[in-house]
């Protein structure tokens, strides 16, 4: 599994994306996983599942990403996704104040229902549509000069995030600004103890213990098993 010389411990982290429809959840994932962006991305139906690895200096984190549908009408899926999730990315659209209200609902819901140690990041997306130089430079086509579409101030969202103990970022899935930083920050914020470990050498002792337990259904079957499989 490890492709570099020195094998690092590798852990998987279940991450769920939540937020109102069209705030850019899938676009953030697409940027993170494929470094790509689509101008007219179709709404997610049901949910999507993707994986991506993130290399930290001391370990590799494999994100198992559940991208939910903001349009989901019956809110019946969400609990399945955030159950046992170690991290959540709650996304709003910087140009749409109602999406921050929805995001706050989600944060409250996660604090009520999700795993206690869950790491939550609040992410204001579509920074390229604002006048903020960091995100808007170069490709800020939609925003453009002088025309600032920002409707949620950094201060407002940031102070809310601080109160609730959330990681906070403003991103642009379109330009890629800050996207990898969000995932890296989450990877760093996951407490070592809550890491379940995927197979791989060099795991730390706490993690190695978990590794000992996981049964790999796809692994080499023991040829000496008492009977050859008949099927």
């Amino acid at each position: 599994m490890a492709d570099s010389g020195a094998p690092k411990p590798s852990s998987s982290v279940k991450l769920v994306l939540l937020g109102e429809a069209a705030v850019g959840k899938s676009s953030l994932v697409l940027r993170f996983v494929n470094n790509d962006f689509q101008e007219n991305k179709e709404p997610t139906i049901g949910a999507a599942f993707l994986t991506q690895k993130c290399n930290l200096p001391t370990r590799t984190i494999k994100f198992e990403i559940w991208d939910t549908a903001g349009q989901e009408r019956f809110a019946s899926l969400a609990p399945m996704y955030y159950r046992n999730a170690q991290a959540a990315l709650v996304v709003y659209d910087l140009t749409k104040p109602t999406s921050l209200i929805k995001a706050k609902h989600w944060v409250a819901e996660l604090q009520r229902q999700a795993s206690p140690g869950i790491v939550i990041a609040l992410v204001g997306n579509k920074l390229d549509l604002t006048n903020d130089s960091a995100g808007g430079d170069g490709e800020g086509a939609g925003g453009g000069d002088g025309e600032d579409a920002r409707k949620v101030t950094t201060e407002e969202a940031k102070s809310y995030a601080e109160e609730e103990g959330l990681l906070f970022f403003e991103t642009s899935a379109k330009t890629g600004y800050n996207v990898t930083e969000v995932f890296t920050a989450i990877a760093n914020a996951i407490p070592e103890t809550s890491l379940k470990t995927a197979r791989g050498p060099g795991a730390s002792s706490a993690a190695a213990r978990t590794e000992e337990q996981r049964v790999n259904l796809n692994g080499p079957r023991d040829p000496n098993a008492k009977e050859g499989c008949a099927c």
């Binding site: 599994m1 492709d3 993170f32 996983v33 494929n34 139906i45 049901g46 949910a47 999507a48 599942f49 993707l50 994986t51 991506q52 690895k53 993130c54 290399n55 590799t60 198992e64 559940w66 349009q71 989901e72 009408r73 019956f74 019946s76 899926l77 609990p79 399945m80 996704y81 159950r83 046992n84 229902q113 795993s115 206690p116 990898t180 379940k196 213990r209 978990t210 000992e212 337990q213 996981r214 049964v215 790999n216 259904l217 796809n218 692994g219 079957r221 023991d222 000496n224 098993a225 008492k226 009977e227 499989c229 099927c231």
Partner: protein, 492 residues
């Protein structure tokens, strides 16, 4: 987005129990329009797993008679600050079934790629509870040797018994070939114990070891079924790694498989609604018209539901207890390279327990001990699931089993029971069946190990829903979805 009423659904699946959820998984790559609803506000039906909060609202529902096949539910907590963690630190399973390595369920989870979302843990030792003859001594647990290596090394049985056991294990591994079959077929419907006595001269104790491996709730399993189950056990040994024959899905057993299957259904585009049931159905029309409890009236070509009617009062009693000890001694791996087990099984043979009133147990009591590695309780605690066939004294006997078990595993201190849930789950003799465009799943059987025959009805339901579009080779056989692969791309 189209509204519910404007869509002509290909199938409405009611209930999110294991069978319905596996059906959703099976349909997840078809282009059928699937609406999956459940009157409960949780996933999993009779296979759900609950936080302590959810346990309490479930118990209330059972008490008002609104929970299908469940009866007589109650919760008991130690008063005061007991070391019980907060409610969401627990996930108590209504269906803590073991899954044998050779179960078709596992191969279907692999071929459908759903296994990638499930973490499987090893089921470790099977032990027998032995009451002490001297009341001043503690009862003990004796591990059942179930592989040849085990039999060689055990000190629990005599050399003569070892030879008998060895001979039997060898027999079972090949029990379907001619010479063996000729030996057991005359006994096919007789109790397995009788066969063991007659053909292998096994004493009561060895018979008990063998019957325990069958996990037969009434202890009276017949020779044919008994041999089949033991064969499954032995041939499962080592299949996915050394030292274990069965697996357990982390976070609540079959509940997790149901949820993973529903997720796959959702990824495939099915629409999910919890807290919504069917209020009325008109199946004289084509398509069928359903009135939902949400107030929506919808049209669908097919309906798949669960039959939840009890046919009689027989069933099981279960006691689920959270205890204040990690019970480490039960979770040692005995074979080199084996994963640390997270589940251990203990059998209390018939007659090994008695109520305060002096009534002895007539059927075995089984106990599945789950370590915190199952995600069902916090570290340094364990969850105990006791099961026995329903009899008038069952509740008392389960309490007795709990106390005796805690005495048997006591070190310097006896572990404390912090929380307990009791209930009765009725059995139903109803069969799964299709009639016209409606399919009814039989209720799940409250067994100790997952029974593959459940999978047949999922397959039947799938065929009914797809009709001529059903391609047998593609049943639950899917490629990984794009992006979901376990690839080696590393993002720096």
């Amino acid at each position: 987005m189209e509204s519910l009423a404007d869509t002509l659904w290909d199938v409405v699946i009611c209930g999110t129990g294991l069978q319905q959820s596996l059906l959703a998984l099976a349909l997840s790559r078809s282009d059928k329009k699937v609406l999956h609803i459940d009157p409960n506000d949780f996933y999993g039906d009779a296979e759900a797993a609950f936080s302590l909060q959810e346990v309490e609202s479930w118990v209330e529902k059972v008490q008002t008679g609104k929970e299908g096949l469940f009866r007589a539910a109650s919760v008991e907590k130690l008063e005061g600050d007991t070391g019980l963690s907060f409610p969401r630190a627990y996930s108590l399973a209504l269906a803590p079934q073991l899954i044998h390595a050779r179960s078709t369920l596992l191969s279907q989870l692999v071929s459908s790629r759903a296994y990638r979302q499930v973490e499987f843990l090893a089921v470790g030792s099977f032990s027998i509870f032995k009451p002490s003859s001297d009341p001043s001594q503690s009862p003990t647990l004796v591990r059942i040797p179930s592989t040849r290596e085990d039999v060689f090394s055990t000190t629990a049985i005599s050399a003569k018994a070892k030879r008998g056991l060895m001979k039997f294990l060898k027999f079972v591994l090949d029990y379907e070939s001619t010479p063996q079959a000729e030996a057991w077929q005359p006994h096919t419907d007789a109790p397995l114990t009788e066969f063991l006595l007659k053909e292998f001269k096994m004493d009561k104790e060895l018979q008990t070891y063998i019957v325990t491996l069958t996990l037969s709730l009434d202890g009276g399993i017949n020779t044919r079924d008994g041999l089949a189950v033991i064969h499954r056990h032995l041939s499962s040994m080592g299949l996915y790694g050394p030292g274990f024959a069965a697996l357990y899905p982390k976070w609540g057993g079959l509940s997790e498989i149901a949820q993973v299957s529903c997720r796959a259904g959702a990824v495939g585009g099915a629409v999910y609604m919890l807290g919504t049931g069917v209020k009325a159905m008109n199946d004289q029309e084509d398509p069928i018209v359903l009135e939902l409890t949400s107030g929506d009236t919808i049209k669908t070509r097919k309906v798949v539901r669960a039959n939840e009617s009890a046919t009689d009062e027989s069933g099981i009693n279960r006691l689920v207890a959270v205890v204040s000890s990690p019970l480490k001694s039960l979770f040692q791996s005995t074979v080199e390279g084996a994963p640390t087990p997270a589940v251990a099984v203990v059998a209390f043979p018939a007659g090994s327990l008695s109520t305060a009133a002096g009534e002895a147990s007539q059927s075995p009591v089984y106990l599945s001990v789950h370590s915190s590695d199952t995600g069902e309780c916090p570290a340094n605690q364990s969850v105990l699931y006791f099961t026995t066939i329903s009899k008038p004294a069952s509740q008392d006997l389960l309490q007795e089993a709990l106390d005796s078990f805690l005495a048997a595993v006591a070190g310097d201190t006896v572990p404390q029971c912090l929380y307990q849930l009791q209930y009765k789950q009725l059995r139903s003799s109803a069969q799964s069946q299709a009639s016209g465009s409606i399919f009814d799943f039989a209720p799940p059987r409250p067994a100790l190990a997952f029974d593959d025959s459940t999978l047949q009805s999922v397959h039947d339901a799938w065929k009914m829903v797809l009709g001529d579009d059903a391609i047998e080779e593609e049943y639950l056989t899917f490629a990984d979805r794009e992006g979901a692969m376990d690839d080696d791309e590393v993002y720096d």
